[in-house]
Symmetry: D2
Subunit: 318 residues, 4 copies
Amino acid sequence: MKKKMILDVDTGVDDAQAIMIALSSPHVEILGITCCHGNTPLENVLKNTLRVLKVCGRLDIPVYKGFSKPLLSNKRNAGDYHGKDGLGDVPDPDAPGVELLQKKKAAQAMIKIAKAHPEEVILVATGPLTNLAVAVQLDPSFPNKLKALYIMGGNTNSRGNTTVCGEFNFVADPESAYIVLDRYTCPTYIASWEFSCRSSLPWSFCDEWLSRKSEKAAFMKKITALSMTKAKSADYQKEVIAGGGFNPCDVFALAAAVDDDFIVEKEEVAVTVELNGTNTRGMMVLDYMELLKKEHKVFIMKTVDLEKLKKMLINAIK
Amino acid sequence: MKKKMILDVDTGVDDAQAIMIALSSPHVEILGITCCHGNTPLENVLKNTLRVLKVCGRLDIPVYKGFSKPLLSNKRNAGDYHGKDGLGDVPDPDAPGVELLQKKKAAQAMIKIAKAHPEEVILVATGPLTNLAVAVQLDPSFPNKLKALYIMGGNTNSRGNTTVCGEFNFVADPESAYIVLDRYTCPTYIASWEFSCRSSLPWSFCDEWLSRKSEKAAFMKKITALSMTKAKSADYQKEVIAGGGFNPCDVFALAAAVDDDFIVEKEEVAVTVELNGTNTRGMMVLDYMELLKKEHKVFIMKTVDLEKLKKMLINAIK
Amino acid sequence: MKKKMILDVDTGVDDAQAIMIALSSPHVEILGITCCHGNTPLENVLKNTLRVLKVCGRLDIPVYKGFSKPLLSNKRNAGDYHGKDGLGDVPDPDAPGVELLQKKKAAQAMIKIAKAHPEEVILVATGPLTNLAVAVQLDPSFPNKLKALYIMGGNTNSRGNTTVCGEFNFVADPESAYIVLDRYTCPTYIASWEFSCRSSLPWSFCDEWLSRKSEKAAFMKKITALSMTKAKSADYQKEVIAGGGFNPCDVFALAAAVDDDFIVEKEEVAVTVELNGTNTRGMMVLDYMELLKKEHKVFIMKTVDLEKLKKMLINAIK
Amino acid sequence: MKKKMILDVDTGVDDAQAIMIALSSPHVEILGITCCHGNTPLENVLKNTLRVLKVCGRLDIPVYKGFSKPLLSNKRNAGDYHGKDGLGDVPDPDAPGVELLQKKKAAQAMIKIAKAHPEEVILVATGPLTNLAVAVQLDPSFPNKLKALYIMGGNTNSRGNTTVCGEFNFVADPESAYIVLDRYTCPTYIASWEFSCRSSLPWSFCDEWLSRKSEKAAFMKKITALSMTKAKSADYQKEVIAGGGFNPCDVFALAAAVDDDFIVEKEEVAVTVELNGTNTRGMMVLDYMELLKKEHKVFIMKTVDLEKLKKMLINAIK
Ligand SMILES: [Ca+2]
Ligand SMILES: [Ca+2]
Ligand SMILES: [Ca+2]
Ligand SMILES: [Ca+2]
């Protein structure tokens, strides 16, 4: 049986890479893609997502419009890194129009899909967690109907990439991240910022990967060019831990959802999100000492099979 | 020329070890020991410090009474780990009396000593930083008169040992830690909790060390027994990162002050202390991205020469 | 034309009083009652609301189930004051069953009703603001479709009734209160805790009122007895400012919505909610100095026509 | 017997007025004036204080230098209102030099003076509370040696004059205000910002007062001119509650200390200072519900004898 997935994205270059891996995985069935504000304003996220599906010839996959703002409404975009349009600033004059979007909204769609396939759906979230936070508020039983949740977001060692101690996806909506880590008691796997830094691929692989010949490869090369340049800049290097290299953040969460053997080493620990700190607002907090007395624990990804990752990336652009 | 030092302590078993290493270092001259609340109430700290000096035959070293409370006065002791009396609960009926203490108070004494030896004095702080915080308030020029400051305290990866994200010395007086990291612009070296965990010595060394024959060794064995048992407990292991072993926290700061070659690898970064978080109050914050625009940076200790450490520990109890 | 209203309640004795005033006002048409957690768990709120409608012979009014938890899910009930069941602990064996509830959920119902009657609907909120917060997240244009919003909640002078500085409805879901004050840019009127204390009616009126003869009066007397006793207790008096008396909090918001001449004096000021304070979390903040640069201002109720209030209360139980 | 006083000031026009009232009170003996950063940088405070003493022919009174920075060192001056030099920007070319200052520092001087006259000294604090906070840290028994403490500072109804909810003296050093309200358990009287607004004198009195003929009156008129103009401005009016008028803030605290019958109505309540709020940091918190379980309560001034105030002001410039 195929793995049923919902992808919750803020498409972005790495979200695009994640979507393309999912599309190229023979054992994965994408039941829907829900869009959220994040890397770029929601309008761009919707367009970018449709562009990715078009390149892959999969505009049949339903795309849902989610929230354009975080719960407390101080929006923060990461447009700088992924380009002004969130996808490398290489516009497609023939991009599909938003009339292709579903009528139903993202949070409600998630709930309906999970209800239709109880305990079968894997939710992969690679943007701010606003859609998920509202979904559990609308239906507190939603998390229990999921098979698993994979998140790219948060940090494990107080090494921020957006604020001093905060990772972008969590900082972009700290309250939603808090709600999700508090109320999603399904099996949960987290690819943190520091983990993704430590799991980067060498630039040499990346160069070889992007030089392949195919329509998808050409698209990938085009949308990736800008962020690749930025990733090699001195300022970006300050955000990074453990050397540099090609860090396709969101892909780690998706890859773990696709292949149960992708995660080599993980850690089980209760987590929450700091909401009040001056420098730590939005920081993921790991409760190793079990002081918070939380029953639910998540799996923090520690090491993964990078060879599998390479294969997935290569398949994604074939 | 000998290195002139002031030790600011909350004696504690590991403070005792640090003091004994300093006393046994031929190139170190201790100009004074200033006492602070911390591991145990100030009265015990004073007594414990005098007991250590007595065992080492150095009651000539001036000991100063510092603050019994943190700035905001919510005292927190760590009596559990170091014993009720802070020194393993093995009382000495002939312990020296507090009449041996200096009349001058700790903060004022620090200032006077540094003034008498401008840019020659190394301050080693192995307890909460209350004395240092008030000293710089009393004399803003005090830090500039120091040669260097070595601190045991804070955490670098949000791994707390006292609160979810907070290390004891900083959590015991977060405002003082904040003030010190803000206003001590002399060269500053920090031995963090996570660093000390990663730099632990094997228990086998510890056993061999404590089995040596000398009056000092017997004293060390006696005061260390309780905390050693606790260190091997399951609950304590939750606080620890990177395996277990013998972690003489305070000793790392002192050893770095004694021997300029002790630190093998260090990192220079601006730091501050989170004062407002729910789970992160008292956590040290490292500003790798330079978002705080602080001019002063500190040296975070990364790796040290453990063979040197062993030798220092052995010499300390000869 | 009748005033179209949605009542968002956490029924509660004073919510019950407010509902009964609305029902007895000839110029008011209630389009729906949406229920929220608050004074008592949501299940009780639903039951209590139906009981009130039954006593008034108005079970035709649609009642909608809203959220059982605040956004960040640390539920806080005020069961003590309004009785364990939220309505004076005088159960009705023939209470109507929850099968009478609408299928649609509260937040979605609000949105639909307002859409059907653009700029005609007055929303009166007398419980925690969770339903309203999620509604604006689901449909950012919802507030602009309202004619006006009347809120009972918040405090104007840092005089809490639940925490040191916090009023119950706001403290029960501070994030929702923040969202509503931030995003509801329709004309907004607030009956604060301190205002309600200063506008209390004499006990003598209350005694006379409750001694009237009618089925509704008997019901009112029964459900009010417990909270009246509590209101006269020493502990409750500590919460109160400006003398004692009968303070039907929620009724002030409803009365202002019913009769445009009820408010005699009001103040226009930008407001927000403190989310981070140790003692002030959930406190309403009034920005008299315009430091927050908020465009939208609300009307803070200052004095009202108490004779009108008495008449409304009397009519409500006829 | 004369009342022995220490005045802790950040001179400021209203501090100057307070000092001059104290000097003109036959039953008051000023044992010392301690200076603190605040309205204007410490250097100006020192100079301004000496200028006031010179005009009054009382340069015999010892003046002590206190702290130039708040505990956490984010200095905030109110130079705008009191003029760039803190005293109306009317410099005196023959101002006395700082060589007249005492050698001893403010905090230590306070402690020494109180020790010399146990339970006889009244401390009147009309600036940020840094000197007092450090004094109690240096000598925890200091507050018990005082007869009473009078403070101008804090707010009682969340009406800020500096931040949204914060009054200048408290906001200028919130941690010090917290420490003082926590650890000064002597009888304590507080003249809050809102109280002072409600107790303002009519401008007509002020005009008449300043038109008197004397050297002191001329000095007063000169230094008061600038702040009087500002006080009548639209922007300042936003800070004020309860009408306008001449509000000599600091004078209320001093007058209460001078004349035991000055306070007509007061309220006894436990208080603290909010340290963590986004909009409420530095706000005084009144614990009417006794949720904080503090033993020590302070007296909040409610109404005072304004005729006495007028007489004091008139005598001060004779
Ligand atoms: Ca993403
Ligand atoms: Ca220590
Ligand atoms: Ca209510
Ligand atoms: Ca002043």
